[in-house]
């Protein structure tokens, strides 16, 4: 007999599980967006926010997208380490800078779309 303890043993593990399925959720939502936009002639993004339910789903998906991206920026420099002058760049610096770039690009995109 054994104690098989997998994905939901405590809050931290459950959160990480959410991180894992975030890619799944984003993929499904992306297909949904594509489908919605292709099936309407009026190609306006307001289609996606036309009901409270749709807005709620959009917000949830955005949270997952943020979890997904931010955790990726956090983990990536730990594996792909950048060497500058014999020493490895601190992964926290890469994390912080990639977050900044992310925010800046997001702002630019939002402004462009509005």
């Amino acid at each position: 007999m054994k104690t098989r303890v997998g994905y939901f043993r405590n809050a931290r593990y459950t959160f990480k599980f959410l991180r894992e399925i975030s890619s799944f959720i984003l993929a499904i939502y992306a297909i949904y967006v594509l489908f919605k936009l292709l099936s309407y002639n009026d190609k306006s993004y307001t289609i996606l926010f036309s009901s409270p339910l749709q807005i709620a789903i959009a917000i949830i998906v955005m949270i997952f997208a943020l979890i997904h991206s931010i955790s990726w920026f956090y983990l990536m420099p730990k594996i792909i380490r950048i060497k500058i002058n014999k020493k490895y760049l601190d992964s926290r610096i890469v994390f912080a800078s990639s977050l900044m770039v992310f925010v800046i690009i997001s702002i630019i995109l939002i402004i462009a779309l509005i």
């Binding site: 007999m1 104690t3 303890v5 997998g6 043993r9 990480k16 983990l75």
Partner: protein, 231 residues
């Protein structure tokens, strides 16, 4: 000196019964969970069964789950734990008795990694710069305590996964400056049950008492395999 309550989740292999034993021990600031268990066995309950040897965190015998975390009992201070202290056997392994689990599966997987230097030609003199050894310093520090296996949710769900420690050791031999079996080892890594089953939770590195980073080793192997497939 104060009295603490320790609950041990036990398993009796003869009756197949799972039950909890409650013990009260006196603990000081520097009393480790292992000290308490040894005291319990000597003075209170000689049937309490657990593994230990070195008492200094290098033999890897005393791995167990304490208050939900896989830890080495000899390195866990009682005073730093919330009461009641709950001690149970390592997750994800067959329990033989009380806190003793069967981890033969690790040794079987380890053997598949060919964890020994493979060279074609004999070496006369070996010159290795200290920097070349830095790569293997981390993964070679593994004491085979199995805390990472207990922490890994993937292994918990699917025991065909080769496991963090196993793959870290594969990486260690792959990166060894004098090993010459890179092709072979990459092939071993490139298995659906090997690196590709890992989904980078990082709990293994979190749990390792010696600071080994199996998560890093495995992702590096994935990177190497990905780059190799592009060539």
């Amino acid at each position: 000196m104060s009295e603490v309550k320790i609950l041990v989740k036990r398993f009796d292999p003869d009756s197949k019964r799972v039950y909890t034993s409650e013990y009260k021990v006196l603990a000081e600031d520097d009393t480790m969970v292992l000290d308490a268990l040894i005291h319990i066995k000597n003075e209170i309950d000689r049937t309490l069964t657990f593994r230990y040897s070195c008492r200094m965190g290098i033999c890897g015998s005393c791995g167990m789950v304490i208050n939900g975390k896989p830890l080495l009992a000899c390195q866990t201070r009682i005073k730093e734990l919330k009461e009641p202290i709950v001690v149970e056997p390592l997750y994800n392994f067959n329990i033989i008795k009380d806190l003793v689990v069967d981890f033969d599966i690790f040794i079987d997987y380890l053997k598949e990694m060919k964890p020994y230097i493979i060279r074609q030609e004999e070496l006369k003199e070996i010159i290795i710069k200290p920097e070349e050894l830095e790569v293997i310093a981390n993964p070679s520090a593994c004491i085979n305590c199995m805390l990472c296996f207990a922490a890994c949710p993937v292994f918990g769900y699917d025991q065909t996964f080769k496991g963090p420690a196993t793959l870290a050791l594969l990486y260690r031999y792959l990166m060894d400056p004098i090993d010459q079996a890179e092709e072979e080892r990459l092939k071993i890594a490139n298995d659906k049950d090997a690196v590709w089953k890992c989904s980078f939770w990082g709990e293994c590195s979190n749990a390792c008492p010696k600071g080994v980073d199996p998560a890093f080793s495995i992702q590096r192997l994935k990177l190497m395999l990905a780059i190799k497939s592009l060539r």
